[in-house]
Symmetry: C2
Subunit: 512 residues, 2 copies
């Protein structure tokens, strides 16, 4: 028996078992495995799905209980999932104090939201605080995400959610202004401009400490693509060293834990394929504010199969981003762009990284659309950050890319982050050809993304789709339209069957 502070401040005794590492990766959830006949389950009345608090020394974690009838778990042991083991920094055989988890009062706010009520700042602080503490189970996270999706957060609620998300993480201070940043509102496969913009604008002397996310519902996030080329799991101290040396960085926001609640929410949004406006705005801007940015350019690609489907939707989302940005101290400039088709040729971390390198190195095969998008954004940022006069940003960006300064700068950033890496190639490919001759009149970005994901992206970096034709191209019968890349035959077969069972991804009309 051990003693400590209980769920409501009163001293409460707990029970001790000895830590044992199960090696089970329970989707990054903390889980504790206990024998049904162990004294803790018997005396506390724990049953499967109970939420229990585990303590090892001064470290604690709330875990879900899985009850075990089976000899593989020895008497007196608490089996820990990998997430619980790491959070507790446990050693084999160390005593683990186990008791009931605190009551989760903030779930009443989630229920209120489900029933259509507005939440105030205190409610969002309570919910986000409990989420960041790891007190929410995955089911409860799913309920919160779903309740806030479908545009159910108004402006004040979105500001409150954003502030709450900034409030629970680290907030960087670079001791200077401007600190520039950019964000592209997803939905456009292959749109990896960040890896070009950061070296261009930092080569011109601006400070751009970029934290990027991994994919939520897409085949690759910027952090996934950057990770193909250099380590992105940097902590804040390492990130600071990179920025002091080079003026910029491209790291994974999750490892610097600037918005720990967001990282947990994304884990649930991804398998649900849900991504709501309020949470999108809060997710984007909380990370910018926490990263110490002051000036942000946001790219809104618009297209029928992009995330933002109309100019009206772009205007509404843009206004929400600017209003919430203003409320949390960020100057936000918008750029609405064409989101009709994928950018570049690759979809998936390694294939996109290959496109980025081609642009930086000025190779003839470099996708021009990716190059032009990056230059436009870099130009905006150079002007917003005062490194170029109004109207001359694009010209400066173009020069810096053309004369190799951007490439040198990119190499410097990669080296500072831990070293430039080789781009991997997938072991298995499947080419899809045009069934008839004609003009490409439409491309279904969503089906392309889904195929890339079924092929293994982003978890398998080399997996994805390589797109060989663009909107408006004239193709002949049998001309390759796209190629699926996969690391395992099973995944290739899976993605191929999916594509074959769906309407054509490329619409081809008889050319006129």
């Amino acid at each position: 028996m051990g003693a400590g502070k209980g769920p409501w401040g009163a001293p409460v005794t707990g029970h001790l078992l000895r830590a044992w590492r199960t090696g089970i990766d329970d989707h990054r959830q903390p889980v504790v495995y206990m024998r049904r006949d162990c004294p803790v389950c018997r005396s506390e009345g724990f049953s499967a799905r109970a939420r229990v608090q585990l303590e090892v020394g001064s470290r604690r974690v709330v875990a879900s209980l899985s009850v075990v009838d089976g000899a593989w778990l020895a008497d007196g042991r608490a089996g820990l999932s990998e997430a619980a083991w790491r959070t507790l920094q446990a050693q084999d055989g160390q005593p683990v104090l186990i008791r009931h988890a605190p009551a989760l009062d903030s779930m009443s706010h989630v229920r209120a939201k489900v029933y259509g009520h507005r939440l105030d700042a205190a409610a969002f602080d309570a919910v986000v605080g409990d989420i960041a503490e790891g007190l929410y189970s995955e089911l409860q996270l799913a309920a919160f995400v779903t309740a806030c999706a479908g545009d159910r957060l108004d402006l004040d609620e979105t500001v409150a959610l954003t502030r709450a998300m900034v409030g629970v993480g680290e907030r960087l201070d670079w001791g200077r202004s401007p600190v520039v940043d950019k964000h592209c509102v997803g939905g456009l496969p292959g749109n990896r401009t960040t890896l070009l913009v950061v070296p261009i604008v930092t080569a011109c002397g601006l400070t751009m400490p970029k934290t990027s996310s991994r994919a939520i519902t897409s085949p690759a996030g910027t952090a996934d693509t950057m990770e193909v080329l250099a380590p992105v799991d940097l902590d804040i101290a390492a990130m600071r060293r990179v920025v002091e040396r080079t003026g910029g960085c491209i790291v994974w926001g999750g490892s610097v834990r600037l918005s720990p609640a967001d990282d947990l929410l994304i884990r649930v949004e991804r398998p649900l394929d849900l991504d709501s406006e309020g949470q999108l705005v809060a997710s984007v801007l909380s990370k910018k504010a926490a990263a110490g940015s002051t000036h942000v350019v946001i790219d809104l690609p618009v297209g029928p199969t992009a995330k933002v489907r109309s100019s009206a939707a772009a205007a509404a989302l843009g206004r929400r981003l600017q209003d919430v940005g203003h409320a949390v101290g960020l100057q936000v400039v918008l750029r609405v762009s064409d989101g009709l088709q994928p950018v570049g040729r690759g979809i998936g971390p390694a294939l996109e990284a290959r496109d980025v390198l081609a642009v930086l190195q000025g190779r003839p095969v470099a996708p021009d659309d990716l190059r032009r998008r990056a230059l436009d954004l870099a130009g905006d940022i150079l002007e917003l950050g005062g490194a170029a006069a109004a109207g001359s940003g694009l010209r400066l960006a173009t020069e810096v890319l053309a004369d190799g300064r951007a490439w040198d700068q990119f190499v410097a950033i990669c080296e500072a982050q831990g070293g430039l890496r080789e781009v991997p190639l997938a072991a298995h490919c499947q080419v899809f050809e045009a069934p008839s001759a004609g003009r490409v009149t439409a491309i279904d970005n969503r089906l392309l993304s889904r195929a890339a994901k079924l092929a293994g992206a982003p978890n398998v970096p080399a997996a994805g789709v390589d797109v060989h034709v663009r909107l408006g191209d004239i193709v002949r019968t049998g001309q390759p339209l796209f190629t699926l890349h996969a690391q395992a035959p099973g995944e290739l077969a899976y993605a191929r069957q999916y594509v074959e069972g769906r309407p054509p991804i490329f619409q081809i009309s008889e050319s006129s």
Copy 2:
């Protein structure tokens, strides 16, 4: 390698591992544990959280993958959670065919609902069909439940959901009419009238094959309370035998699988403490329709801390129940009742069962409110079912209870279901006394229910709360108000601390 029918009808090969029973109770979810270095994970690119299909002979189940680094799981083995093991009826060492789960296209309807769109009948059929097949993960179930909560289903959608839920289960046909039924819309602790109504009306010759649910968010469901007195896990054949012999039964709806989708949804609603109007109506009426009922009386208790909080809410819900009932061929009669305070004295399966027995046996300690409620409902049903003339149902019900026919009939039903059982007593109690003298002016049903659940109800049948005073009673200082019952000291302490940390459950004003 093995072959079979793939996700889209095409032949697909899978991989074979040997079944191994982990004994892990993963909250009744099918889970498969596979080593990270096993050939299946490596060649199929499976990673944690992947949804995979497992087949043993002709049985199959979709499971979540947990990846294991650890020697406890032997090479070449697929570790199965209890739910997966039971569904597959696996034997140790039997080959398990493993491949990717089919793509879950119906989730697009769930996302549409999240974004505020109406769903049509085909959409509900697709979602409910996939849920009943076990294709939804718990996260996906949570998203569906949350998206439909908060009154987001209109009449047509509720009808479509109800029909879809009837469509995926068995539907009984008793070859006669009327077949009567009743339902009480929850929120009123201790309201166990079913266990009284069924013996009364079947003793009068009506047919009442009652399927009841286990608790969703309450400390006891009718099935939980009945299970204290007799087995309730009857299959359809056993249920038929009981009804042929006695005219009635009280069994758990989950084991007869009349609404298999509902049983899965309830598993998620319970930990989320969510219970929406549309799903409530669909859940109630789909079970009535599937059970072959034709005439249903629905009790709507109204009170500030009951599930239905106002007469207006009762009227709206009642209308929805009647309209949806009409659409699925059920004649629904409503009874709005007083929901100001708990019914009877006990809250929790065993304590409620004790109250029921006292009423059936005509003992002086029997709670009169429980008795009167049951007689009112039985009277309504006797009239609705044609066993009593209009206006004489209550008199007939009262006679049948008073002269012992109802008790004899209850014993007969329990015996037919597998034998009448003794009511268990809890090992630990804690009495809470009135802090001051005065009149009881309010009782917080929600806090009472929560305390009963923290004490272990309904999973621990003997756990719960015994209420000693009623609204309007005059109490003296130190008079017992209620008693917590728990089987384990930890649970008793947990419930006690919860009560002590909250506002008083009983409002006592100075008596005048």
